[in-house]
């Protein structure tokens, strides 16, 4: 499915478009930048596959994101518009500041606890003294840092994640909701938080109910290839599932095959679900499907997830 430059995607569900829809998604109507970023590559590029794929699909993304948003209960604050302040919603500090934050963890061993070096033979090179044992980051207090990305954090529930702003654009943001759109492929990521009185299973059901607002015939995806082998979020095990169905337009007309991947976990304080909606999920990228490729990309969000606070 493709749209001419400047033309918006069709409206789904007869609902009012969220403000972000008045803007073209990044890259809309423009050749994807794959063509210009192959350093020193020559000859026929396998990226042609990617380009062809992109040319064919072009962004159902915004549609899915919009539908989800429209299905949300009224947000405490109006949705944010990218590029505009969104107080008092989540902040987007540069990741560089996060990387400078020392991590808490195990007390460094005193140097006396280290193995005492034997005196080397005369003239043998010597090693400078070792630094104390670098601290490890206890689970659930600080996720691995991804340099060069952006961060999103819930001000009230104090969880957050990092994302590569070159890959994802934040299209919607409230205090407990972030919607990101993959820049170059047809994928939308929804990160929904709640207090821990909502279980992961309940949060998954809520999210799937929203998905059912723009997907018909949703069934469990039983392909082993698509299986979630170890659902987790921010290194806390959770629950999850993979589904397939048909994405619909506003009047219920089938538009394209869709795939949904969802994981949810809780740290006992908050419960968070990550939902990924992919259009044309089985389109092949070489030997892998679009859904697989996009899921791999979203893994960076999942891995960087920071539960914040204390359990």
């Amino acid at each position: 499915m493709s749209y001419p430059p400047g033309q918006r995607p069709p409206t789904w569900g007869g609902q009012q478009q969220p403000p972000t829809w008045n803007q073209q998604p990044p890259g809309w109507g423009q050749p994807p930048p794959y063509y210009s970023v192959t350093p020193r590559a020559s000859g026929a590029s396998p990226l042609a596959i990617v380009a062809a794929f992109i040319g064919i699909l072009v962004l159902i993304v915004g549609v899915a994101a919009g539908v989800i948003l429209l299905s949300q209960p009224p947000a405490p604050e109006p949705p944010c518009v990218p590029g505009r302040p969104c107080a008092p919603g989540p902040s987007l500090p540069p990741i560089a500041s996060a990387t400078a934050t020392p991590v808490s963890g195990r007390t460094p061993l005193p140097s006396s606890a280290l193995p005492s070096p034997s005196a080397p033979p005369s003239g043998a090179p010597t090693l400078p003294p070792s630094s104390p044992n670098p601290s490890e980051t206890p689970a659930s207090t600080s996720a691995p840092v991804i340099l060069g990305g952006s961060t999103w954090r819930s001000a009230t529930l104090d969880y957050g994640f990092e994302f590569d702003a070159e890959l994802f654009s934040l299209t919607q943001s409230t205090d407990t909701l972030a919607v990101l759109q993959l820049q170059f492929l047809d994928g939308t990521v929804v990160v929904q938080g709640a207090t821990a009185d909502v279980t992961p299973a309940e949060l998954i059901e809520r999210q799937l109910a929203m998905v059912d607002g723009f997907m018909i015939g949703r069934t469990k995806d039983t392909d082993d290839y698509d299986a979630l082998l170890g659902p987790s979020l921010g290194y806390i095990s959770g629950e999850g599932g993979v589904y397939s169905g048909i994405l619909t337009s506003s009047d219920g007309t089938p538009v394209a095959p869709g795939g949904v991947t969802i994981v949810a976990s809780t740290n006992g304080r908050v419960t968070v679900a990550v939902v990924l909606i992919v259009g044309e999920p089985d389109t092949l990228f070489g030997s892998d499907t679009a859904q697989y490729v996009i899921r791999s990309a979203v893994d960076d969000i999942v891995k960087s997830f920071d539960w914040g606070g204390s359990i």
């Binding site: 990226l47 596959i49 010597t126 070792s130």
Partner: protein
């Protein structure tokens, strides 16, 4: 590398399919050879197509694996090599000594060689008497073994051959021949190699300075250890473009010896789909130990390709440290073939070689990329570990996600797992290899333990999100530079780190590190937690979680190289 480029890399990484071959292996006692049943039959996404009989004059290669005369004696020696109370403790033996003590009598080896040569084949036994490398015309091979070699074409156009019929060995030699390996040349070994996306390390990927800072290699460099006098062997089932090394050297300011190549018969003439793997291995080692002599041992990518290459490495006796970043899940190789290969790794262990092997990139589900029916999306999701990281004579290297500060200093690591994409550092239990006596310590005995080999032993940076910046020539695409990960990176990372350790040891009168696996466990048991290993305590491998002590995701952990070097040297000085 731009985001688009990185995303595209996900799509263009070519992974050799695990369309499982159906190799034939000799049994014993009769001229007719039995074919051990495969536990399962993997099917590529599109089946290979037979294109006709192999031309009679085509040169083909295979390996005849030999039984040992004294396998029990060899097993006992391997135990004593690790027993501080034994007079044989760390008394490693040469390939020739291994052959004389445990191999078939030389006259028996000569009989097998004579039988092969009688058909006009060329046959060369290695001094450890574990195997014979054979080459000759297809027609001669067909006639000798009573088979017919057929050409096949894989879905991506790769040509290979498979035998029909069962290879026959004369009855009088059947107790001497353990297996005939390599007649099926379908490329099934897979590099543990991948590249993607965002980064836990400074923009572009891990570079030598960052690695050195993060893992405390800097102190060794500062002490003048850059790999001088050390030899690291790489086991490769592809080759590389030498100018790629030049590009790396220019980028990193390295002036170092050229990478050497040793080819066994059947090795690829030109870089293929695994060339990125070879480039990764070379560049990771060169970045950490730039003055080390790197020998790239290249062989044909077949289901049991390790046998020929390991036999050659042990026979050459040049390298004490070996890096392997290829493998396949145990389930899709015959136990008899694995045993034959294990002998080669045992000979390496007996010779004091440390063989670092990537544990694979599919988490605890080592066969995940194997389609088990005509439906390419019908995958094998059983728990399985990847050979040869599960060998009791190698060091399995698992994967981590590394986070560092902008200046490269270490923040943390997590066991590498990608819950949505399904990738992760390999780890779990072998179904073939018993747990060696030296594998013990905190965490080793756990709820999943069943007496079989547990992997990995150690871990290193593998998540492509904290991958290494690698430059290589992709066939048909040109030179590409990108962030690459996989446990493929962790194995050479460990190999290079231990090359520096060996150099340091040499300055203190310790000439050999020996087979390091037992030493690493013994040191881990003696040292305070965190003193020489980063004990990775979060993350996992999609099934097993990382935790204090040894675990199935990261083993003993990743190295703090300088303190670990100190501990190893002190241990070996006792």
């Amino acid at each position: 590398m731009s985001a688009a480029r990185r995303l595209a890399a996900v799509a263009v990484i070519v992974v050799t399919g695990l369309g499982c071959s159906n190799p034939t292996y000799p049994g014993g006692g009769d001229t007719q050879i039995a074919v051990p049943p495969h536990p399962g039959q993997a099917t590529a996404q599109t089946e290979p197509v037979e294109t006709g009989p192999t031309a009679g004059d085509e040169e083909v290669q295979f390996t005849v694996s030999l039984n040992l005369r004294d396998e029990d004696g060899m097993t006992a020696l391997l135990e004593r090599l690790n027993d501080p109370a034994s007079l044989d403790f760390h008394q490693y033996i040469s390939a020739t000594a291994f052959g004389e003590r445990f191999g078939l009598p030389s006259e028996d080896v000569a009989r097998v060689v004579g039988w092969l040569e009688s058909a006009g084949l060329r046959a060369a036994a290695v001094p450890q008497r574990t195997s014979i490398s054979v080459s000759g015309s297809a027609s001669s091979v067909n006639q000798l073994l009573g088979i017919t070699l057929h050409d096949w074409s894989s879905p991506n156009g790769e040509r290979f051959h498979r035998p029909s019929g069962l290879p026959a060995v004369p009855a009088h030699l059947s107790d001497k021949v353990a297996a005939v390996l390599g007649l099926d040349t379908e490329p099934v070994l897979r590099p543990a190699f991948g590249g993607i996306l965002a980064s836990g390390v400074p923009s572009g990927g891990l570079r030598p300075n960052t690695v050195a800072r993060a893992y405390e290699i800097d102190p060794l460099h500062a002490a003048g250890m850059r790999g001088e006098g050390q030899v690291v062997a790489i086991v490769s089932f592809d080759t590389f473009t030498p100018s790629d090394v030049d590009l790396f050297d220019a980028r990193e300011g390295v002036a170092a010896p050229r990478v050497e190549i040793v080819r066994v018969p059947g090795a690829a003439d030109e870089p293929g789909s695994g060339t990125g793997e070879v480039a990764l291995d070379i560049q990771v080692i060169r970045g950490i130990a730039p003055q080390a002599r790197i020998i790239n041992y290249e062989g044909p990518n077949t289901a049991n390709g390790f046998a020929a290459l390991m036999a050659r490495i042990v026979a050459d006796g040049l390298a004490e440290i070996v890096s392997i970043s290829w493998g396949l899940c145990e389930k899709y190789s015959s136990p008899s073939a694995l045993r034959a290969e294990e002998r080669e790794f045992d000979a390496a262990f007996a010779a004091g070689l440390s063989v670092f092997v990537a544990s694979g990139d599919d988490g605890a589900y080592g066969c995940r990329r194997v389609a088990i029916s005509d439906d390419p999306f019908n995958r094998d999701l059983s728990q399985d570990s990847q050979w040869p990281s599960t060998s009791a004579s190698t060091i399995g290297v698992g994967g981590t996600f590394l986070s560092v500060r902008e200046d490269g200093t270490y923040i943390s690591e997590a066991g590498w797992e990608e819950p949505l994409g399904g990738a992760g550092g390999g780890g779990g239990l072998s179904t073939v290899v018993d747990r060696p006596s030296w594998q013990e310590g905190v965490g080793v005995d756990n709820a999943a333990s069943n007496g079989m080999r547990q992997v990995p032993d150690v871990a290193g940076p593998s998540d492509p999100s904290s991958g290494f910046l690698v430059v290589y020539t992709e066939p048909g695409q040109g030179v590409v530079e990108g962030q690459v990960g996989g446990t493929s990176a962790a194995a050479p990372f460990w190999a290079a780190s231990m090359a520096l350790t060996r150099q340091m040891a040499g300055t203190e009168g310790v000439d050999s590190l020996g087979a390091l696996a037992p030493t690493l466990y013994q040191i881990a048991a003696e040292q305070p937690a965190g003193a020489v290993f980063h004990d990775v305590i979060r993350g996992g491998n999609l099934l097993f979680e990382a935790g204090p002590g040894w675990d199935y995701s990261t083993g003993l952990g990743s190295p703090r190289v300088a303190p670990l070097a100190r501990a190893i040297i002190d241990f070996l000085k006792r």
